[in-house]
């Protein structure tokens, strides 16, 4: 797959895997309204995945569409960051993941809206509005839980403890990013880091939470080196197409 197609694939995989993870909350959230909140975010992510994966297939030009890429690839072919595949844990852990990722996505799509490649810019323009809301929603929950009861605070801290080591990977650049930037499609992710840090720190301060101590980053998702969790997620998500190839309804 060429580098621009891979770039689209990564964006699609991030959204797809997070959407699937959030979908696991359906029917299990702490309140009916929160159930709907999480499902809405999940559906926004799956929508973004559809656009980016269809685009990846189109650029690849070998007849694969978004569905083929979502349901007929094995775990080592997925290029999502490790953060989005992390298990939901309790509600605070899910919120920690969403908070770190949505602020990254918000900055990314704000920039990509100005991309010269209009295919990427158009998807980003639609997604930017969605993820701006996700970032607000997640931030509000971080503040409520962090500055809440003793138990909610402890859970929020534990949630960040789990997720924090996967944050660095969001901003890593490699040859695919460089090629995408050169082609007018991509965003300099490393340059987003300072703004992301500032947004995260503002919310953490309001939530009366200390910034988690720096730790050795866990990376590898872009190269297909995933945690044990992704295979389990895929076995759920891909079951139908594995058992009944080509099934439609």
């Amino acid at each position: 797959m060429d580098k621009i197609a891979t770039y689209a694939l990564r964006l699609g995989d991030d959204s797809l895997i997070l959407g699937q993870r959030l979908g696991e909350w359906c029917g299990h959230a702490p309140a009916l309204e929160v159930d709907l909140s999480l499902a809405n975010v999940a559906l926004d992510q799956v929508g973004q995945a559809t656009h980016f994966l269809n685009l990846a297939g189109e650029i690849e030009g070998e007849g694969r569409d978004g569905d083929a890429l979502a349901f007929r690839r094995d775990v080592m072919d997925f290029t999502n960051c490790l953060l989005v595949e992390q298990p939901n844990g309790d509600f605070a852990q899910t919120i920690a993941r969403q908070f770190l990722f949505s602020h990254y996505q918000a900055l990314l799509f704000e920039q990509m809206t100005a991309a010269k490649d209009t295919r990427f810019a158009a998807i980003a323009a639609k997604a930017a509005k969605e993820v701006a809301y996700h970032a607000t929603l997640a931030s509000d929950w971080v503040i409520r839980l962090g500055d809440g009861t003793e138990e909610s605070k402890a859970r929020m801290i534990a949630g960040f403890d789990w997720m924090w080591r996967f944050a660095d990977e969001l901003f890593l650049m490699d040859d695919v990013d460089v090629a995408a930037i050169a082609a007018g499609a991509g965003v300099d992710k490393a340059a987003l880091r300072a703004a992301w840090d500032a947004r995260i720190d503002t919310v953490l301060a309001e939530a009366t939470l200390a910034r988690p101590a720096p730790r050795r980053a866990t990376t590898g998702g872009r190269a297909g080196r995933h945690s044990e969790h992704l295979g389990h997620l895929l076995s759920d998500m891909q079951f139908l197409q594995r058992a009944y190839p080509g099934a439609t309804w």
């Binding site: 309204e33 709907l36 509000d140 409520r144």
Partner: protein, 97 residues
């Protein structure tokens, strides 16, 4: 069933469908604070482009008339048809009335 005493407070939700229309009551949500109530209202009642503006207010703040007073409150209006503007002749060609 969950313990009702542990449930979040109830908020009434009003949606303005489009510019020029008034906010209309559409239902209620549970939330711990006003901001959460707005977010829940957004996520519950405007998923299919139902509105351009939202109001939420604590259900406990609504003062309702007593159904037992309905007779005294509403029935006296029943025989006062002259309060309806139905005695005017409407000119031809007027459509939106």
């Amino acid at each position: 069933m969950s313990d009702p005493s542990k449930e979040w407070p109830l908020w009434e939700v009003f949606v303005r469908g489009k510019g020029g229309l008034s906010h209309r009551h559409v239902g209620s949500v549970h939330a711990t604070d006003a901001k959460m109530a707005l977010e829940h209202a957004r996520d519950t009642y405007t998923r299919r482009m139902e509105g351009i503006s939202l109001w939420v207010l604590p259900s406990a703040q609504i003062v309702a008339s007593d159904p037992g007073d309905a007779g005294a409150l509403f029935e006296p209006a029943e025989d006062k048809v002259y309060r309806h503007p139905t005695f005017y002749k409407i000119p031809d060609g007027i459509t939106h009335i």
